[in-house]
């Protein structure tokens, strides 16, 4: 009876948040596309027919074909998989660095805080994209996973900040003192008390990291530093760019750009919806 009630208000607020719902639907569709990609479009590889190079959209090729005569619709569909994969890996890395750093800073404070927040500031100070570019160039092989890994490595500061501020806030709460006083194990304090409370802001942040990681991956691929063998949207744009088709075959660059936009917009809208729903000041009664 009472179990679900706690979130009832927030869920209601979210459901009535127009942008948030658009985002949620968008994300759901993207996940469905990624999961069911094999049922939507045949994967393409190698090269197609010479006569079918750079064909504009038609009933046969909905998004036209690329400079290798391959179906762009299929590439965009399969690119969804790469994108979600990149996002998930980046998010995973960002959490596994950001959360511990944030916790150490916010819970143990002192030297941990100085070092942790110093590192965070440094990572926020260094221009991220150029550094990712250089790091991508440093790595011997750039598979889509390593690209995602690098993006994750540079995405953790925002997570660390949020975890830290939540930890600091909760450490100042009496219930944490109560828990300490009751002799509850530190690990339990951290997980049950701090992390559970930090989970919502962290989640909101993750959806944003998800969105930015795709933009970054696309930029890296576009600059020719990504995984040349992956079906990522950035790679399609890179092919369009290198083949000089930006100005000649509009469909080559338009559809992957739209895909990126849908992805980024969906995740941003979703995070906005959640944030607004959780902030009672925003939803007008």
């Amino acid at each position: 009876m009472s179990k679900e009630k706690r979130y009832e208000k927030e869920v209601k607020a979210f459901l009535s948040h127009r942008l948030g719902m658009i985002g949620l639907i968008g994300v759901a569709i993207l996940i469905l596309i990624a999961v069911f990609a094999p049922f939507i479009a045949e994967p393409v590889s190698g090269y197609g027919e010479y006569e079918e190079k750079l064909l504009p959209p038609s009933s046969k090729y909905w998004f036209g074909t690329d400079d290798m005569g391959l179906d762009l619709f299929s590439q965009v569909i399969w690119g969804t998989r790469s994108s979600i994969r990149v996002g998930i890996i980046a998010v995973f890395i960002a959490i596994s660095i950001g959360v511990p750093v944030g916790l150490l800073s916010g819970y143990y404070k002192g030297l941990f805080d100085t070092i942790g927040m110093g590192l965070t500031e440094i990572f926020l100070t260094i221009p991220m994209l150029p550094l990712i570019i250089v790091t991508a160039a440093v790595l011997e092989t750039t598979s889509i996973n390593t690209v995602a890994f690098i993006i994750g490595i540079f995405s953790w500061p925002s997570i660390a900040r949020i975890t830290r501020s939540t930890a600091l806030k909760i450490c100042g709460m009496q219930y944490l003192e109560a828990a300490k006083c009751l002799g509850i194990k530190t690990s339990k304090i951290i997980f049950k008390h701090i992390l559970v409370n930090a989970s919502t802001p962290i989640f909101v942040n993750l959806t944003i990291i998800m969105a930015t990681s795709i933009i970054t991956e696309s930029a890296i691929s576009f600059l020719g530093l990504g995984d040349p063998l992956a079906h990522s949207w950035g790679k399609i744009l890179n092919n369009a760019h290198l083949s000089g088709a930006f100005g000649t075959a509009w469909w080559f660059s338009l559809f992957p750009s739209i895909a990126i936009m849908i992805f980024v917009v969906s995740f941003n809208f979703l995070s906005m919806g959640i944030r607004d729903a959780l902030n009672p000041r925003i939803s007008r009664e």
Partner: protein
């Protein structure tokens, strides 16, 4: 004030020091010998060794680091592998353009972003609020090179309103024609970057205006019978601007990322394009120098914005 400044500067120096050390290491972690790229395939072994020696790359890493730091203090960022000119000179040529691009972008983004954010925060939950947010989020979602190229195609090629790339026309007359020419070249890249960064300011301002509007002094101001317009645009906006200004300093780092792509598409002669080219050529001294200068700019900007915020908000005590 003095102490706050001191503290802020010391923190900045430490950040800077760690950043340059990190940069130094990353650049030297490259898997291939950094001179491989500049070795003409037909260079002899003796020439290769000479080249390593010329760039000080034959020494052990700690020694390289010491001389790197020593030179840095003298303002010497080393020689570019490819251009064989001091990196400092190369950056000096490029930096003003990037700064111009960024300052104009920042100014315009703030000028548009803050009012939009204030208004959508004030009308939170309304259609107009969703519209403003939706539009600005669309802005950050467009792939920059594609947006840039599309703008070039439409306004540069089709409508012939703006030049296709560059920063100014060669041989243009000094004075007003020159300034107008520079502005003409600036328009499209700035539009691209404004699109890219608008959302940040709109959302930041919106968030803080919502917080501010529920505070007591706003209620007091309303209760005193002040006009709603004045309450919103004078009292609330001033206070809501602080987090936005803070984020403006932080944004600088990420703006450089956008500059890499934008400057490349628009053939704009800034640091971003220089970085793009240096990556392609594996010109590590340039990359290293660019990072150092950029990190320094971001750190200084952060200090400046912190002080600016303290100035805007008397509640932040400069202790």
């Amino acid at each position: 004030m003095g102490k706050y400044l001191q503290k802020r500067i010391v923190k900045g120096i430490i950040t800077f020091f760690i950043t340059i050390t990190l940069t130094f290491l990353i650049v030297r972690l490259m898997p291939a010998d950094p001179t491989t790229m500049l070795m003409d395939n037909r260079l002899t072994v003796a020439q290769q060794e000479q080249m390593l020696e010329d760039f000080g790359l034959d020494k052990p890493l700690p020694l390289q680091y010491v001389s790197f730091l020593g030179n840095l203090f003298k303002g010497d960022l080393g020689l570019s592998f490819m251009q064989k000119r001091p990196v400092m000179d190369i950056i000096k040529e490029r930096l003003p353009w990037t700064l111009l691009l960024m300052i104009v972008t920042q100014a315009i983004t703030l000028l548009i972003g803050i009012p939009l954010g204030v208004y959508s925060g004030y009308r939170r939950g309304s259609k107009i609020d969703h519209f403003i947010n939706g539009i600005s989020i669309f802005g950050i979602s467009i792939f920059v090179p594609w947006l840039g190229f599309t703008l070039l195609y439409i306004f540069g090629y089709q409508l012939k309103m703006f030049p296709v790339g560059g920063a100014f026309t060669p041989g243009i007359e000094q004075g007003l024609p020159y300034i107008l020419d520079v502005i003409k070249h600036l328009v499209l890249p700035v539009i691209t970057l404004v699109f890219l960064y608008l959302a940040n300011y709109v959302l930041y301002t919106r968030g803080s205006i919502i917080d501010v509007l529920s505070e007591d002094y706003i209620r007091t101001a309303r209760a005193k019978g002040l006009k709603e317009k004045d309450v919103l645009w004078k009292h609330a906006t001033k206070n809501a601007m602080i987090p936005t200004v803070t984020s403006a300093g932080m944004m600088l780092g990420s703006m450089v990322g956008g500059a890499v792509l934008t400057e490349t598409v628009f053939a704009y002669p800034g640091v971003g394009r220089m970085i793009y080219q240096a990556v392609g050529q594996q010109d590590y001294p340039i990359l290293q120098g660019a990072f150092i200068i950029l990190a320094l700019s971001v750190i200084i900007m952060n200090i400046v914005t912190d002080i600016l915020c303290a100035y805007l908000d008397p509640r932040i005590k400069l202790e």
